[in-house]
């Protein structure tokens, strides 16, 4: 008695077998705008919406200046050189902070990802510390690091360490066990194992962490640059808030938003370069 019975359909005779469907070649399927243009649609729509809301007065200028005002404010900030200076200053801080925080975060993630003992010591501590609000630590940082660049960089380092830690650690724990076994039989030394197996395997996750950290580095500036800053995007925004310069606030927001796009671009590029090996799903 055949048991693998097809129960949903009655057996069909060859005569009334179904019509054939055509497999559509890709060239005929794909059409429309090139990719980068299509990715611009969302942001452009958003700006358009903002413009409309501003012009119709739904968004009063005291709350959120319209795109036109913001453009002219940005132009004048650019003309005085303030905007460039702010971006450069913040960029420097973000870069140093990210370098330090990233190194710490990734190192700790490797330690707790690889070693049970490391996990026992490091992981719960990190999980505990990561929910501590940064701003509450600023007074401590002032005491330890003074009021120069150090506390700002330390704050960014702290803020960026956690996303990288979380994602790299998760990435390491997500590495295919069968590959780790295979690598073990190949006689890799521990450092070689980390370099050639664990870290590449954790890379897709690590890049998510990087994406996060790159964003957080800039967000942390809003707080870091409350401490004795005379330049920087965070400083500019804090200052604008003090002086009720809604247009400058929005210029800063736009700078932040553009930065988000740049971060996205960078990480996408890295993904394209570093994850070319990945047989992953890429959307329908």
């Amino acid at each position: 008695m055949p048991k693998l019975r097809a129960e949903t359909h009655q057996p069909v005779s060859v005569a009334d077998a179904p019509e054939l469907v055509l497999v559509q070649p890709e060239a005929e399927r794909r059409r429309g705008l090139p990719r980068p243009l299509r990715r611009a649609i969302g942001p452009v729509l958003l700006v358009a919406l903002w413009h409309v809301l501003s012009v119709t007065g739904v968004l009063p200028p005291t709350v959120l200046a319209g795109p036109a005002t913001v453009l002219s404010s940005a132009a004048s900030l650019w003309a005085t050189g303030e905007l460039q200076a702010a971006i450069l200053a913040s960029l420097g801080r973000a870069a140093s902070g990210l370098a330090i925080g990233g190194t710490i975060g990734i190192s700790l993630a490797v330690i707790s990802g690889l070693f049970r003992l490391g996990e026992d010591l490091v992981d719960s501590t990190m999980q505990m510390l990561r929910t501590v609000p940064n701003i509450a630590l600023i007074p401590l940082f002032i005491i330890w690091f003074g009021i120069g660049e150090a506390p700002k960089v330390a704050l960014i380092a702290l803020a960026t360490a956690f996303p990288l830690y979380l994602n790299v650690y998760a990435g390491i724990r997500n590495v295919d066990q069968t590959l780790v076994e295979a690598a073990r039989t190949l006689g890799l030394s521990r450092p070689a194992m980390i370099r050639h197996v664990i870290l590449p395997g954790a890379l897709p996750n690590a890049l998510v962490g990087l994406r996060y950290s790159l964003g957080v580095a800039w967000l942390a500036l809003v707080f870091g640059e409350q401490v004795n800053a005379t330049a920087g995007v965070g400083y500019l925004m804090n200052n604008a808030r003090e002086f009720f310069q809604t247009d400058v606030i929005v210029v800063c927001l736009v700078v932040y938003a553009l930065l988000g796009l740049i971060v996205d671009f960078i990480v996408r590029l890295l993904e394209r370069l570093l994850l070319a090996w990945r047989p992953a799903f890429s959307g329908a």
């Binding site: 693998l4 949903t8 069909v12 060859v14």
Partner: protein
């Protein structure tokens, strides 16, 4: 190969080309499979058999040419491709219409000798067990075209015979078209109406197997066909007889 009525066909391929970079793995290939026909496909490793199967399964669109296949297809891939987050029996009935999934899964798993494994995660399956699960998943469906990519490669002799039997039985009952990729020439001759030899991106030879079923390995026609096919694969009788150094 082309004089037949379209209405009679389960697969119709004309001028199919698939390039990866510069290399045309499939190069203006033509192929017809009649409704209810059992076709075996053999060829050297890397010659494009799985690529062709993926195209017939409507999974690869980087092609040029005309490819027509039935709407209802079932595939057993070369690797088992089980969802690691679904237990074995849920893998078998994933996407199946209708009810009583558990019962149908159990029946199918019993047929491939895996009743005792139906509740475990795929990660604990042995190679052959995973392959049988994948086979059960394809056979439990109700396809007009069954695409099997080396479905018995990881099975021991006895399990393999049972699995072959199972496929043959399903085919005879359902009269679906079957395309079986295999490296085992005897297996191809035991099961198929026609054996295709793929080489350099095309179907280099199509050899009808007119032997009555059930077939016997010791039939002289069988032996002759076997010799011919091995020859086409580059294995001379002498090498086949005296293989290891």
């Amino acid at each position: 190969m082309s004089g037949r009525d379209n209405h009679d066909l389960a697969v119709r391929v004309r001028g199919l080309t698939r390039r990866f970079g510069e290399r045309a793995v499939i190069d203006t290939l033509d192929l017809d499979i009649r409704k209810g026909e059992f076709v075996a496909l053999i060829g050297a490793s890397g010659c494009g058999k799985s690529t062709l199967l993926r195209i017939l399964a409507d999974l690869d669109h980087g092609i040029t040419g005309e490819v027509r296949v039935p709407r209802r297809r079932a595939v057993a891939f070369q690797a088992p491709r089980l969802m690691p987050w679904k237990s074995v029996w849920r893998n078998v009935t994933l996407g199946l219409p209708g009810g009583d999934h558990r019962g149908r899964a159990e029946a199918a798993l019993a047929e491939v000798g895996l009743s005792h494994r139906s509740d475990v995660w795929p990660k604990v399956l042995s190679g052959g067990e995973a392959q049988r699960t994948s086979l059960a998943r394809a056979l439990v469906r109700d396809p007009d075209l069954l695409l099997l990519d080396e479905p018995f490669g990881a099975l021991d002799a006895l399990t393999r015979i049972k699995a072959q039997h199972l496929v043959a039985e399903l085919w005879q009952r359902r009269r679906c078209a079957v395309l079986l990729v295999t490296h085992d020439v005897e297996e191809a001759l035991l099961l198929a109406d026609r054996v295709l030899v793929m080489r350099e991106g095309v179907i280099a030879r199509s050899i009808p197997v007119t032997l009555d079923r059930p077939r016997r390995l010791d039939n002289p026609v069988f032996a002759a066909l076997r010799g011919e096919l091995l020859d086409l694969l580059g294995v001379s009788e002498d090498v086949a007889g005296r293989r290891a150094a």
